[in-house]
């Protein structure tokens, strides 16, 4: 990972599970544990969307969760980047023909970075967060 100006501050991630199979969840948590250790870059999971720079969204958004996803998105302060983690959030994946989905995620909220895989490896997730840093940087430059 090349040092970018964006690393002059810590990136906080809020993980939003919209009804995923837990596969992405455990890989996201695996990605923050010692083997991968992104905390050395200041990247960490936070407990509230109000503290977050990045929304990491997993799962195919079942109907019951749609409103919550919109609320969490609204609660996240701007500028923000939304990462869609996992194939089912991207396209529905194996759940493509389900009757109970309002997804994929980009039908509900705008997505900036997609991480493919079912589930993506922790390395891929970290790569996605790095992409998000670059995007956030551009957003901040644009906003300034």
């Amino acid at each position: 990972m090349k040092p970018t100006p964006a690393l002059n501050r810590s990136l906080w991630v809020f993980h939003l599970n919209t009804g995923s199979c837990n596969g992405c969840e455990i890989e996201i948590v695996a990605a923050i544990t010692p083997r991968y250790d992104p905390e050395r870059f200041g990247i960490k999971l936070v407990g509230s969307p109000r503290h977050a720079d990045v929304l990491m969204v997993t799962g195919p958004v079942p109907k019951k969760m749609k409103e919550r996803v919109l609320r969490v998105y609204a609660q996240t302060p701007d500028p923000k980047v939304v990462i869609c983690c996992g194939t089912c959030g991207e396209s529905g994946g194996v759940y493509y023909d389900s009757y109970n989905l309002d997804g994929p995620i980009d039908d509900v909220i705008p997505v900036d970075v997609y991480i493919s895989g079912c589930p993506p490896r922790p390395e891929a997730i970290l790569h996605g967060v790095v992409k998000a840093i670059e995007k956030l940087e551009r957003l901040e430059r644009g906003a300034a």
């Binding site: 599970n17 969840e25 948590v29 695996a30 195919p60 919550r68 994946g93 109970n100």
Partner: protein, 410 residues
């Protein structure tokens, strides 16, 4: 305080999105001071309609869908489903296939229990232990990746056997993993069981008595921690478990008495990691040679599905307890009926009993102590509830208008 007790009860909603919860579920706590008086919970946020989708696919496709019922106990559901279909079709899985299934299932148990141990430590605020548990878990993830090709959602089970063999070159690596965990067992037991903080927080917290455990039909480590001697691997042997020597793990293997509290659940799970290492060792030592699957060619398998008629139940002892799949085939390619009963479904019901009378601060560890897996559980049972909530808005209005019109014209 006591005379205003009745008025001082207040409601605390937690969820579906809450930092204490790893998955979406909605809790409503009635709280009096610091004490929980009653609990209600409403799952269903992760309902994806998997069974419905399954009835439109053929069993060779469904085994990969079953992986995605739950990312943590993926092979559990695949084994359950495959075993149900195999019983309908009278397929004898080759012995080597059964042994490989057993090895993967036990590796899954190791990673799942270590994952849980980490989460439990995190809920107690003991984050260094959380990081330690997840670091040692990576060893089992590496071996799972070596055997199946993926860290999560292995896709190794196919109806009739498994899709990948364990070759000779892989044995030393698996052996190395087993040695690693064997050396680590004492350290894990010491860290989790002799730590004063864990002892203080978990002893006599979230008690589920033997009677309640029987009454509520809880399964897996939750039941065994309350002293219920119940383990599908022993009671109803399948795969290679019939050939192996295993005993249900009860907390009195290590402690003098069984109290059925959170601490006992930690004891059971840590001991089960040790047991799983032993089971994999037995499998490696007695691995029979031969085929790994009943039929390699998917086209022939699909043809066989079209002839399958009958119904069967596939069971497996998941890391969280007994999982059960019911399948009915009626001579079409896709099943006529498919019902999934995940292990957490039986265990969730014990929350209200465990949480009653406990303090707010103990909620996270008690909720986590049964190792809930909601993506497993949110099956068809919840659909009606989901529809009702839709009905309550536009739909209800439309129905109401229609009824008015009907009455006017009638």
């Amino acid at each position: 305080m006591s005379d205003t007790k009745k008025d001082s009860t207040y409601t605390v909603p937690i969820g579906p999105i809450h930092p204490a919860l790893k998955e979406p579920v909605m809790f409503t706590f009635q709280i009096n001071g610091e004490v929980v008086e009653s609990v209600d919970f409403s799952p269903g946020q992760t309902h994806r309609g998997i069974e419905w989708m399954g009835m439109r696919r053929n069993p060779a496709q469904i085994v990969h869908l079953t992986d995605r019922i739950c990312g943590i106990c993926g092979v559990t559901h695949s084994i359950c489903f495959a075993r149900a279909v195999e019983q309908i079709m009278d397929i004898q899985v080759p012995e080597r296939g059964d042994y490989i299934r057993t090895i993967v299932a036990e590796l899954e148990r190791i990673q799942s229990h270590l994952l849980w141990a980490g989460v439990a430590a995190h809920e107690l605020g003991f984050d260094s232990l959380f990081h330690l548990a997840w670091r040692v878990r990576e060893e089992s993830m590496d071996v799972i990746e070596l055997i199946t090709g993926n860290r999560v959602n292995y896709g190794i089970v196919q109806v009739g056997g498994v899709r990948r063999d364990i070759v000779e070159e892989q044995f030393p690596r698996i052996q190395q993993c087993l040695t690693y965990y064997r050396d680590l067992a004492d350290k894990l037991l010491h860290l989790f069981l002799h730590d004063r903080t864990i002892m203080m927080r978990c002893r006599d917290t979230g008690v589920l008595s033997y009677e309640d455990a029987l009454h509520l039909c809880v399964v897996g480590p939750t039941a065994r921690a309350s002293g219920v001697r119940k383990d599908v691997r022993v009671d109803y042997p399948y795969c290679a478990y019939g050939d192996l020597s295993i005993d249900p793990v009860l907390p009195d293997q290590l402690l003098d008495e069984i109290r059925g509290d959170v601490y006992d659940r930690i004891v059971v799970r840590v001991l089960e990691v040790v047991q799983s290492v032993d089971i994999i060792q037995q499998c490696l030592d007695n691995m029979p040679p031969g085929e790994i699957t009943w039929e390699q060619k998917i086209a022939k398998l699909l043809l066989a599905f079209k002839k399958a008629k009958g119904e069967a139940v596939g069971r497996h002892e998941a890391p969280r307890g007994e999982a059960l799949h019911y399948v009915k085939m009626t001579g079409r390619e896709s099943p006529y009926a498919w019902k999934v009963k995940a292990s957490s479904y039986s265990n969730l019901i014990s929350w209200p009993v465990m949480l009653k009378g406990e303090q707010i601060a103990d909620i996270p560890i008690i909720v986590a102590s049964i190792d809930p897996c909601l993506s497993c559980t949110d099956r068809v049972a919840i659909v009606r509830d989901g529809e009702r909530s839709i009905l309550s808005k536009e739909e209800l209005h439309r129905l109401s208008v229609e009824k008015t019109r009907r009455l006017q014209h009638g």
